[in-house]
Structures are given as structure tokens and as C-alpha cells.
Symmetry: C2
Subunit: 289 residues, 2 copies
Amino acid sequence: MDIAWIGTGIMGAPMARRLMGAGHRLRVFNRSIEKARALQADGARLASSAAEAATDADAVFIMVPDTPDVEAVVGQIGPVLRSGAVVVNMSTVAPAAERRIAAYLAERGADYLDAPVSGGDVGAQEGTLAIMVGASRPEAFERVRPLLELLGKRITLMGEVGAGQITKLANQVAVVLALEGAAEAIALARAAGLNPARMVEAIGSGAAASWQLANLGPKIIAADYQPGFFIKLMRKDLRLVAGAALESGVALPGVAMMASMFNAAAAVGHDLDGTQAVAAALERISRAA
Amino acid sequence: MDIAWIGTGIMGAPMARRLMGAGHRLRVFNRSIEKARALQADGARLASSAAEAATDADAVFIMVPDTPDVEAVVGQIGPVLRSGAVVVNMSTVAPAAERRIAAYLAERGADYLDAPVSGGDVGAQEGTLAIMVGASRPEAFERVRPLLELLGKRITLMGEVGAGQITKLANQVAVVLALEGAAEAIALARAAGLNPARMVEAIGSGAAASWQLANLGPKIIAADYQPGFFIKLMRKDLRLVAGAALESGVALPGVAMMASMFNAAAAVGHDLDGTQAVAAALERISRAA
């Protein structure tokens, strides 16, 4: 398959590399072109624009930061896409925007998948991402499924275009509240004079168990805020959640609180730290109290 | 060992039964005496008061609903305890009350352990509880450890008296926020028209994974509010968390929010349902919005 890959950042580059490793020919483009150049060594052809990368491609993958970035890429590639091409957006963006993009591409005879991922840069490198898919047609999903299987371990077709994004946003909702649970449990244990690592060990295999407690709990305790996933990006995702909640008329009080917590963490300098730095914001609030 | 067991409710009865199953002689007492009678068939001697049960006992176990209940039991058994006895409170109560009780018993030559549990009635029956222990002296813990090992799988000595309770409260903090994450993720998915069970499956093995999502998520989806753990008891536990947080000067905004959510669930008739019924309160809020 002739594949175009747009967006070769911390997630996109290792994902593109996995496709090449399986023998696929890739044309790659990135707005900061230096980040794409490293892929040339692996056999990628460097394109000078998204449109050049997408011309005559069978499949176009997009992995960029935010909704306007995806819209800009689609605007550029739309006019050059060959009929029957499949565009696969793996960025996390607004579900409503996805439905508009799918309609725009359908007019040009192209299929569209929203296929956001969970699992971070390690998952991207190891091909163990969870991929949550919405598709313009199930046939389009089947066509690119072998490619997705090179990138992820658990690939779920959730429904029509937008369903992948909703699933990813639901993922983030469960993530941030479990994280806050870990942060507040640790804050309480520590303030009361307990050894917080021992506390995490004592409670970590029962009803309190979570990926967040097991993986980010020790980092919170060590004040190790090295990013697995940036607070800045989680703030973006929670804005998308708020938009989707408003659109479908559902109240999410925990999400509203967590948006405030992450904003507070950003305000005290942690926007480019990992999500676990929300514990630092919690500490600031306690010191002020 | 001569053992007294005070409190033979949904947790206490199966725990007492496990000790008898290992060959220990038990004298049991329960305020509603009918609940203790069932244990006679297993060989327990029925006492007509907590004091009668505790007289000459080597160890006294307490498993009752709340702080005043434990204080009442201790007030009754204090005068009759033999010197060198160990009192083990497995109820979840206020850490500050535990420290007062330990001081009162120390004057009478008795040791005290706060040893609250996690794992529910199933854990009580199967002897797989997590037990979080604070002890007046490590030697007192060692003396009853073989008994605790009949009741639980993971038994952690956390520190001095009160440390067990703080650990249990930290457990509840992590529990309720992970539960809210599951409830809000499901609410979002459902409101946006997704199959919520499929969503849980798609996100359930990555960064969003939690015991709450895996075990209570399906119940939330099915609106199955059969209690594993009563909302009423969780509301009590969150009041204890609020007290402990105030005492140690730590801000826990997520806990404050969850106290409101569980109060709302109680207000709309779910106080004697399982904690997963917090999802019903969330739905009410959405319908009102």
C-alpha cells in the first residue's frame, strides 16, 4: 500500500516506523520538517507538504496535536486525494469536527476513520496502543485494519465517525478521576504521617486498584513529574470532553473539577509536566488552606 | 486461644466462622442477638453481653458499624479485660477515636490494634480481605497475626494505632474517585449514543483500568444497584475522611465532591443500594440540567 503519514512527533514517528518495519512504503510530512527527516533513514520519502504526501496514496494517516491541526491537514489533502482513499485520523480531537470532516471527504469519494489511541509513546513504539475507531463505512475499517494491527493491541470499532473520539474521551474521564483518587489518597496518607508507598502497596490490589495508582502513584510519591502524558494535552482533552458533554446534555461534575485541578497545575508551572503533577497542585491548595 | 467476637453482621459472622473453622474457641455477642445465634451451630458460645464475651479472653475482635459503636463496646469490656489481652477493632472508624481508645486500654494493661478491612462480604467469607493495621506495640500485632491470616490475604502493619484507619480511609478515597470516573465515562458514552459495554471493553485494559470500572462498570450499565458496599456506609467513611483531612490540614476537593454525590444518591432513595448507584444520582443531575 502507498501510505502517507502526516505528523511525526513523539507519537507519530514511532507509529510510522512500525508500518515501514512491516514493509510498507511511506511518504511522510511534518510541519517542523526536522522531525520527519529522522524517518528518512528508515526508508521514508520526505514530502514538502501534506498535499504532496497524500497525492495518489491509498491511505493517509494523521497524527497531529489538536482539532484545528487536523482540519488544516484535511483542507490541504482533500483536493488531491484519489477516489477510494482512506483517511485515518489518530489524533484526539472534537467528535463534532470529525463528523464534519467525514462529510467533506465523502463528497470527494474518500473514506474517513477517527482512530484515536491510548497507551503513550511506549505503546506507540511497541505497537501496543489501544485504538478506538469510528468509521464512515465498516469496509473502510476492514481495509486498514491490518495496518492498525501493526500499531495497536486492542482495536475496537465503536461505530460511526466520532465514536472513536467519544470512546477516547470516556477513557480520559476514567483516567483523570482515578488519578485524582490516587493523588488524594497519597496526600491524606502523607499528611497523617504514614509511609505513602506502604499505603499504596496495602490498598493496591483490592477495590482501590487502578492503573493510575499503580503506575503514577510511585511517581507522585517521588515528586517525579517527567511526562508520560502532558498536563497541557490533558487540559485540551478535558475541553473536548466538556464540549461533547454539553452537546449530548450530560452533567460530568468530576470532569469539571478535574479541569480546574489541571488548570491549577498549569498555573503553578506544570503544564509541560506529566499528568501526575496534578498532585503538586493539590499540595499547593493544602498549603494555602 | 480464647477469643471473643463482638459484632456478627454481614462481615463479622463469616469472619468469626473462619476462626472457628481453624479450631479456635469463640464466645460471640451481637446487639441484635438473633444474628449471633446462627454461629452457635458452628460451635460458638453465645454471650449475653460484650463484657461476658470478653471476660478472660486472650483476644477480643470487634466488627460493628461506626465509631460510637466501637466506643460503647470498649467501655463495656474495658473493666473485665484480663491484663495482656489484645483488642482488635476491625470496624472502620475515626483515627482520632482509635488513639483515645488505645490510651484507655493501655491504662488497663491491654493492647489495641486498629485493623479495618477491605474486600466486602465475599472477602470475609473467603478469607481474602485486605487488612490494614495500626498497633499499640508490634508484639501485639505479632501475637494475633496468625488469626488475621485466617481472615485476610494481604495484611499490612502500617504503624501506630490509627494508621490502619488512615490507610482504610485512603483506600476509600481512591475507590470513590475511580468509581466516579467509571460512572462519568459510562454516562458520556451512553449520552453520545455509544454501546457503553463496548466502551468499557475498549478502554478497560489501559491507563483507564480500575477495579471499579471492571467490577462496577457492568453493574452501572445494567442499573444493577444490589449492594456490595452500601452508599450509607460510604457516606460514613467519607465523613471520617473529611474529619481526618481537617485534622491533618490537607485539602481533598475530590472527596468533598464525592461526599456531595453520595449524599445526592441517598437523597433520591439509594442509601441502601450499592456504591455504584452514584451513577443514578449523576443521571438525575443530567436530566435536571
